[in-house]
Symmetry: C2
Subunit: 213 residues, 2 copies
């Protein structure tokens, strides 16, 4: 397939000519970043190649040359959001002291992401659109959510190991509860523009920690 710039590209092919492929990859990255930005506002399911083509000033056929289908484009956008969430929320938390400080850092990073409506939160919001639709997007979402739940559980467990939380505190319960607190924040903050949303979210988080001590 031929892109708008006249360069033969295949989204899955291995590089053979370094300069051509690196240009193509750079283009794809730019498209994916723009796609994530759009999808974080209108939803992943509504993201189309036509719409994105206008944004990145390429022809539809050019964009199609890079991604071959709407589904592959959406999958790349989702993978990008997932990696961005890991880089902004999860990994920085793993660099602070084990135990409660680490749990707090995870919470603060997540809150900051949600507050600014960062595209990294896309893989959270896309769930409701794809929870009943089998396919690669659904599988990517399940995998991303399992990773997130595992990350919360692991971080919480360092708190048990360090003696910050009770020995019999349930890490899976904490993960689901924290997730709910963050989802409610996203709804109250972004949809209802409720000025007290963050204060309540912090109270709910402190209550969760309190019950784990």
């Amino acid at each position: 397939m031929t892109s708008g710039a006249g360069v033969v590209l295949d989204a899955t092919a291995r590089p053979c000519l370094f300069d051509v492929v690196s240009k193509g990859e750079l283009t794809r990255e730019t498209i994916v970043v723009q796609g994530a930005e759009i999808a974080s506002r209108i939803g992943l399911a509504a993201l189309t190649i036509g719409q994105l083509a206008g944004r990145v000033e390429m022809s539809k056929s050019g964009l199609f040359g890079h991604f071959r289908s709407k589904e592959i484009l959406q999958l790349r956008v989702l993978e990008y959001a997932r990696e961005r969430f890991a880089a902004q929320v999860v990994r920085p938390a793993l660099r602070v002291a084990r135990g409660e400080p680490r749990v707090r850092t995870l919470f603060e990073n997540w809150l900051a992401c949600g507050r600014r409506g960062d595209p990294s939160c896309l893989f959270l919001s896309a769930v409701m659109e794809y929870d009943d639709q089998p396919g690669v997007i659904h599988d990517e979402l399940v995998s991303a959510h399992r990773d997130l739940m595992d990350a919360i559980v692991q971080v919480f467990r360092t708190g048990i190991a360090e003696g910050d939380f009770r020995r019999d505190a349930d890490p899976d319960q904490f993960a689901q509860d924290l997730y709910g607190v963050m989802l409610a924040f996203a709804y109250s903050h972004r949809l209802l523009r409720d000025a007290a949303a963050e204060t309540r979210t912090r109270r709910a988080f402190e209550a969760l920690l309190g019950s784990a001590r």
Copy 2:
């Protein structure tokens, strides 16, 4: 505009010929119910007139004659979901004894709705798609959510009045917290198919009640 059945209809016109309009309204209701069922699986933003036409075995132009735009169709679907949620979750709770029993009934009805993926939960799942898109759908979602938050607050307040909850318990905090518990349930149950999702949701609910007593 002419529907597929050759009947002149306008989605907003007042009835002038009773038999014609009642047939049209019945048709529109059927379409909206089917639309809600589809949207509860694929998301409201992805619901198109073309897709729905296939489901209800009408022509696209026939469906267009009933709703005039995708946006009006989506709005009607959302209004239907909102009314269904009120009828299945909120109003039955208002018929049981004030206080904690009423809060529990609200919770159980909501849980039952979420468990079976009822279309009434559509106005919850559609939020992430429309939180950043100004327009009638966004306004309808904000209004539906304010109503739901108000309903939770009112039901919780009967618990304070009846002496089931502390005088200084915060109804707005409870509303946001319960909302989070229910959202986390939707995610864990529907996306992750986590068998323990409901047990954890019940534990989280009991913890919320415990902290309010």
